[in-house]
């Protein structure tokens, strides 16, 4: 079975795709930092931040629908966590929750929407980064920034084996269903339990055999990767332009 991972569009060719992964990592992380630090309720700034990422997405030729659809994933989580912010005291009372009478303050609303906007913008930036950089290149970029090797190894194995494990689960499900498993979720719980169990054992065995294959080729506990970077003038131009735009928006937005 074939799956597309989060870096589905990273194989396109565009000025943004051609940039050095380190330039993109640096710029987008700086962007996220600036967005998070910008004042609550500064909707003009949020709009301008959006325009900045939007123009990069346009340049990268990654389908807009894809990026926006996936960026919305974060909204329910942040929305749920941020619910309590609505009842923050301060400012005029905007309205009361019907039936309960809890007052929602205008200050609360302002912070709530700012948090939503900031997290959405950050996810948008990260999605753009991942969609325009091949995953191995991204890992090598992160390695250059001294992200611990162990963390990178875990991410790299996850990227390699996630869909394999997913496939195994789908095959087990198919095998179960074809033998007439009940369609109701509740009645399937016991078989789901044993499926998870055997999935765990299989993954464990897979880890063991992959480890043997690594040792056979001289692995001694330290992951040594070969970083290939070809930084050019455009990488510096991109960093300076992108970061200064974000900074200007923050300062004068």
């Amino acid at each position: 079975m074939h799956h597309a991972f989060i870096d589905k569009f990273s194989h396109l060719d565009s000025p943004i795709h051609r940039l050095d992964p380190r330039a993109k990592i640096l710029s987008f992380l700086f962007f996220v930092l600036i967005v998070v630090l910008s004042a609550n309720g500064d909707y003009t700034a949020f709009g301008l931040f959006f325009l900045l990422v939007f123009s990069v997405i346009l340049l990268s030729r990654v389908p807009l629908v894809y990026v926006f659809k996936h960026s919305l994933v974060v909204i329910p989580f942040v929305g749920f966590v941020g619910l309590s912010l609505l009842f923050k005291e301060g400012g005029a009372i905007a309205f009361s929750v019907p039936g309960f009478g809890f007052p929602v303050s205008s200050e609360g609303l302002r912070i709530f929407f700012s948090v939503l906007a900031k997290s959405w913008l950050s996810v948008l930036a990260m999605l753009t980064l991942v969609s325009t950089t091949r995953f191995p290149a991204l890992l090598k970029g992160l390695e250059w920034f001294r992200v611990p090797a162990l963390v990178l190894m875990v991410i790299s194995f996850m990227y390699r084996y996630f869909f394999l494990i997913n496939d195994e689960m789908m095959r087990m499900q198919a095998a179960r269903d074809s033998r007439g498993a009940p369609s109701k979720l509740v009645e399937n719980i016991s078989s789901a339990g044993s499926m998870i169990g055997s999935l765990f054992v299989r993954s464990y065995e897979r880890a063991e055999s992959a480890f043997l294959a690594m040792c056979a080729r001289g692995f001694d506990g330290e992951m040594k990767a070969l970083c290939v970077f070809n930084p050019g003038v455009w990488d510096f131009v991109f960093i300076i332009l992108f970061c200064s735009c974000a900074l200007v928006i923050k300062l004068f937005g």
């Binding site: 869909f163 043997l212 294959a213 690594m214 080729r217 001289g218 070969l226």
Partner: protein, 230 residues
């Protein structure tokens, strides 16, 4: 007589190994592989073929007896050097290929050998074109077909330039078209390397000069000569 004059690539004497639970997996195996030979390991499932293979480059060490590669005894100290001479292509390419890209996987061995950057690049290119997978360096292994994964698996070992290659069930699970392609690759490998192949595949057996029949952790018999192998 010809064969006696050649160098012994692998010499196994009275090799014994027990599983962690104490049951005997290998019971006194004797085996010789000469340089340039293609040897088959045959036998029913559970006969000990895969366990024996793990002993050939120090992934397991014998409880009794010894393994020598080009005259050097295989042990904790020598395993690093010996792994440059002899390497294993595992049965399941999903285990053999563990990196996010084909390049990283093929470069893994050479990098661990401490080779210079340019040399690593040259070896990756060479190994991939040798197995007919040039241009796949930046693909992700999980997007390759099974046959392609098998070929890249061989490249991951070729890039280390070993003299001996050990293959565990290399043709298992390949469709007839991929198989045909793969057999040609094995014939090519045979010309340049000493091969040890664990297999049930009759067609593959014809490629081999000799075979060892394993059963219950012992060598049941040695099948000498191409005619008898057939």
């Amino acid at each position: 007589m010809m064969i006696m004059e050649k160098n012994k690539a692998i010499e196994i004497r009275n090799l014994g190994y027990n599983y962690p639970d104490g049951s005997a997996a290998l019971k006194g195996i004797d085996m010789d592989v000469f340089e340039g030979e293609c040897i088959a390991l045959v036998g029913p499932n559970g006969a000990g073929k895969s366990t024996l293979i793990l002993h050939l480059n120090g992934l397991l060490f014998p409880v009794s007896g010894s393994v020598r590669v080009f005259g050097h005894e295989l042990n904790e100290q020598s395993k690093k050097e010996i792994r440059k001479q002899i390497n294993i292509v595992f049965q399941d390419p999903e285990s053999q290929l563990f990196s996010p890209s084909v390049f990283d996987d093929v470069a893994f061995g050479p990098i661990n050998m401490g080779l210079a950057r340019e040399e690593v690049f040259a070896r990756v290119d060479e190994a991939l074109s040798h197995v007919g997978m040039a241009g796949f360096a930046h693909r992700s292994p999980h997007h390759l077909s099974f046959g392609e994964k098998k070929k890249v698996s061989i490249a991951t070992v070729l890039s280390m330039k070993p003299k001996i290659i050990v293959l565990d069930e290399p043709t298992l699970g390949l469709d007839p078209w991929a198989r045909k392609d793969f057999m040609k690759l094995l014939e090519k490998l045979k010309k340049e390397h000493t091969l040890v192949i664990a297999t049930h595949d009759l067609e593959l057996l014809e490629l081999c000069d000799r075979a060892y029949m394993l059963r219950d952790g012992k060598v049941e018999r040695e099948i000498k000569g191409k005619e008898e192998v057939k």
